[in-house]
């Protein structure tokens, strides 16, 4: 069966991501879509480690490791330098975790997008500060256990909606993607590559270690996040044109929660409440997409 996924690899074996790491899978797909004419900026995150201890590299593309909060600003600087050298071809790509995007890197990102810097910002979202030991971020979902939201102090705030925050900037292109949907993911990255201005792709990436799930369930769980509407697949152009890429099949959110250790403390009532929250978010998205609820 032929797949519409490019054959070429831009990642080497021998990296040190945990078994079943969703972020490693995400990187592999993204690079397949982008090809070699890129410069990648990686602020502190798991991928700072996965990319290889000096003098090794896991990637066949140039990578610049930078400080945690600087994903947006370093990329802006590199793009400006390339322009000065007359290189209008190389794509600058920031690759950051959710902590580096939703939290500490947010102002640099917001600034770059407000200036409509010509680059692609990719956030691989594993829903916590995983590299430093599973601390909650503003991307950690409602209900989750982390080492900073332990026991009965599980997180009681909603996950920040980063795509909508960027859409509010009227960003050229913003999209969600998921490691369980490789063709959709690769299409979106390719589409972004052919645009100018700021582009943002939010990739749902399972973290077996931090979510307390078996490594072999990584893709299954990521897929369920989409099937249950917890993480809808959609894209927004110019901050206004919404396209929903996947119509869910009516799975209940508890199917997704049941599989993960980080949610094991939740009661049936908690899960019912989460189901309502997910439905509310979905309705909101449908309204924005100009689709009137029901389906």
């Amino acid at each position: 069966m032929e797949l519409s996924v490019p054959d070429r690899e831009f990642m080497y074996s021998g990296h040190v991501a945990c078994p079943g790491c969703g972020a490693a899978i995400a990187m592999r797909f993204v690079l397949k879509a982008l090809g070699e004419k890129i410069i990648m900026v990686i602020p502190a995150c798991c991928w700072s480690i996965i990319a290889g201890p000096y003098p090794m590299s896991t990637l066949r593309v140039p990578v610049l490791h930078t400080a945690f909060e600087t994903g947006g600003s370093v990329a802006s600087g590199i793009k400006a330098a390339l322009e000065v050298r007359g290189d209008h071809e190389t794509t600058v790509v920031t690759w950051a975790g959710d902590g580096g995007t939703f939290d500490i890197g947010f102002q640099a990102l917001s600034g770059a997008v407000e200036r409509n810097e010509d680059f692609i910002y990719i956030c691989y979202d594993n829903e916590a500060y995983m590299n430093t030991g599973i601390q909650r971020s503003s991307s950690t979902p409602y209900g989750a256990w982390t080492t900073t939201t332990p026991g009965q102090d599980w997180k009681k705030m909603r996950k920040k909606n980063i795509v909508e925050a960027l859409v509010a900037h009227r960003i050229r292109y913003a999209a969600t993607a998921n490691i369980a949907f490789p063709e959709d993911l690769i299409n979106k990255v390719k589409k972004a590559k052919n645009m100018k201005g700021s582009r943002f792709i939010h990739i749902f990436s399972t973290c077996p270690t931090g979510w307390r799930v078996p490594s072999e369930m990584s893709i299954k769980i990521a897929r369920m996040a989409v099937q249950t509407n917890i993480f809808p697949l959609y894209e927004v152009e110019n901050g206004v044109e919404y396209t929903i890429n996947y119509r869910p099949k009516g799975y209940l959110v508890k199917e997704y929660f049941k599989l993960q250790g980080r949610f094991s403390h939740l009661t049936e009532e908690d899960l019912d409440q989460i189901q309502e929250m997910v439905e509310e978010d979905w309705k909101l998205l449908l309204r924005k997409a100009g689709v009137f609820s029901g389906s």
């Binding site: 797949l3 074996s13 590299s57 072999e216 369930m217 299954k220």
Partner: protein, 587 residues
């Protein structure tokens, strides 16, 4: 900076730059679970009496490799055109897709492949082994006998088939009406068997004396002369004129295509496929058939689809009526019928019956056909009790007359008396004789059981000949083992058919052809349970880039690079069809 050569001066590089790859980290040392490709058995294949490699046939059909798919069919069964029409398709009842939406239309695809090969006059590449210098006599040219001849010829034996009637084919030729199996299909398949050097001697009835005589000219005999004789009702009046044997009627009808015209109301006694065939043929000859059956409609042995079509064509079924006697009257016969009632249900789900207390019913008919089953036509054919010296196989029995091997097959030994079971017994007999001649008696049973497909009664010639398929394990893939995230609900393609009005006046084939694109679409519904169809999920989702797919075009399995595989197990879970396993790493 002291360097005086200004041309060489540049901003010093103050950041470290990597210069080698991570490939020297052999992350395979982290692994404590080991994924491995391990093909398994599909439920359809295991349920198929001839053990067809159905998931692979569907895979080839989807790719448009119709010739290869047809050759694969022929490697296990010389009659795909016939079975694609008349097989009772237990494969479809076992199909895992049944639990998801509807079974794959496996038989329809088999027929499509056979018809396509016939339409384009394709010549199959059959692997005929070198002559072994031994001769086998085969008694009966039905599906069992001809299959034994076909496979024996392929295995390098010379075969002579003895047929008592004037044409070969047995029940396929004489009992199955043309509207189910056109003559051309059967004749082409028989011709292909003859083209391998098989000689068929018609008008050669083998009675017991002749049978003993054959022993001196051959190295073995395969007996597959079927259940040819119609069973009797054993009620008074059975011998009256106007009461006839259903099989004889079908046989006459098939030998003389200018069908006799019948009229009035005709009773057909029985509930099996023959009864249905007789009733539907009677209808096509112009009379009104009524099936009289002792039990309930749902207890009939005939295939459900056939019963449905018969009813649709206007055949009536009188259920729970048992004939007590038959009397001749001026023009026709009078049947005395006892009404029966259900007295419990047996283990197989059929009703046990007993007479109702009401008075018998008296009905008159123009003719009566009896079709209550068949039995062997000569007592020495019978092979139901096995002695300790016999080798009882799954579909056939090998018996020794002194040192001389005689194998019994077809209806004489198979559990279910169907065309496909007879074919299975012929194939098994060919394999068994080959083992006997090559390595001896003691190896017959172990060799045949090595070739079993899954946990059923079917055996595979491909496995016997040590083809790729022998690497599959017998574990039958269940629905729960399919990753249904990779499949969408798609309704089964209905079999196109002649309209009822077009059917009832002629013996033209009812089931119509389908196009290549319809066949490919239907084959695409198959999960390909247990086999690798190169979907490449394992390659795609491996976070370690440890799944290699060189030389994959030819269809070999993918390979895992254990230097880097960390044993996360993603490939095994994301394999949609359970063609992999995850096992504990041996220390």
């Amino acid at each position: 900076m002291k360097n005086s050569n200004r041309a060489n001066m540049c901003v010093p590089l103050l950041i470290p730059r990597s210069y080698k790859t991570s490939e020297e980290n052999k992350t395979g040392s982290w692994r404590f679970l080991r994924p491995r490709y391990l093909e398994k058995t599909a439920p359809c294949s295991s349920a198929c009496p001839v053990g067809q490699d159905i998931p692979r046939i569907q895979m080839l059909a989807v790719q448009g490799s119709f010739k290869e798919a047809w050759e694969l069919l022929l490697s296990e069964n010389p009659f795909p055109g016939t079975c694609g029409r008349v097989c009772f398709h237990p494969c479809e009842s076992a199909c895992n897709r049944l639990e998801f939406d509807e079974a794959v239309a496996i038989r329809m695809i088999e027929r499509f492949l056979a018809d396509t090969a016939s339409r384009y006059e394709l010549q199959p590449r059959l692997n005929k082994l070198a002559e072994k210098g031994k001769k086998v006599a085969i008694i009966g040219s039905g599906p069992g006998g001809l299959s034994a001849a076909y496979f024996l010829a392929l295995l390098g034996y010379s075969c002579d088939v003895f047929e008592s009637s004037n044409k070969p084919g047995g029940m396929l030729r004489w009992a199955i009406p043309f509207y189910r199996l056109p003559l051309k299909v059967l004749e082409e398949e028989i011709a292909r068997i003859e083209s391998l050097g098989v000689r068929i001697f018609c008008n050669h009835h083998v009675e017991f004396e002749k049978f003993k005589h054959l022993r001196s000219n051959y190295d073995a005999i395969f007996v597959s002369c079927g259940y040819q004789k119609g069973r009797r009702l054993n009620i008074p009046g059975e011998e009256s004129p106007g009461v006839e044997d259903g099989l004889t009627f079908l046989r006459e009808l098939k030998s003389d295509p200018s069908s006799p015209s019948l009229h009035g109301s005709v009773a057909v006694i029985g509930g099996g496929n023959t009864a249905i065939d007789v009733a539907r043929s009677v209808l096509r000859c112009g009379a009104k058939p009524v099936i009289v059956y002792r039990r309930r409609k749902e207890d009939m042995r005939a295939f459900g689809e056939e019963i449905k079509m018969a009813l649709d064509e206007g055949v009536r079924i009188e259920e729970l009526k048992s004939p007590l006697k038959i009397e001749k009257k001026e023009s026709g016969v009078i049947l005395t019928l006892q009404k029966m009632k259900v007295a419990g249900i047996d283990e197989s789900g059929r009703a046990a019956i007993e007479p109702d207390n009401t008075d018998p019913e008296i009905v008159s008919y123009d003719r009566v056909f009896v079709a209550i089953g068949t039995e062997p036509s000569e007592p020495w054919y019978v092979c139901d009790s096995c002695s300790g010296k016999d080798i009882k196989l799954y579909n056939s029995v090998m018996r020794f007359d002194g040192q001389f091997p005689v194998i019994f097959g077809g209806d004489l030994t198979t559990e279910a008396k169907t065309v496909t079971n007879a074919i299975a017994s012929g194939k098994e007999a060919a394999m068994a004789l080959d083992v006997l001649f090559r390595i001896g008696k003691d190896f017959v049973l172990p060799e045949i059981s090595r070739c079993r497909v899954g946990n059923g009664l079917s055996v595979s010639m491909e496995i016997y000949l040590n083809g790729e398929r022998k690497n599959r394990v017998s574990h039958v893939v269940s629905y729960a083992e399919i990753n249904t995230d990779y499949f969408n609900l798609i309704p089964r393609t209905p079999q196109p058919r002649l309209l009822r009005e077009e059917r009832i006046n002629s013996f033209s084939e009812i089931d119509l052809k389908i196009s290549g694109s319809v066949a490919m679409k239907e084959a695409g519904r198959c999960f390909n349970c247990g086999i690798c169809n190169h979907c490449d999920n394992c390659y795609l989702f491996c976070p370690e880039i440890a799944v290699k797919r060189q030389d994959s075009e030819e269809g070999g399995l993918r390979a895992i690079n254990y230097d880097y595989c960390k044993g996360c197990g993603l490939c095994v879970v994301e394999c949609p069809r359970n063609a992999m396993v995850l096992e504990e790493e041996s220390a």
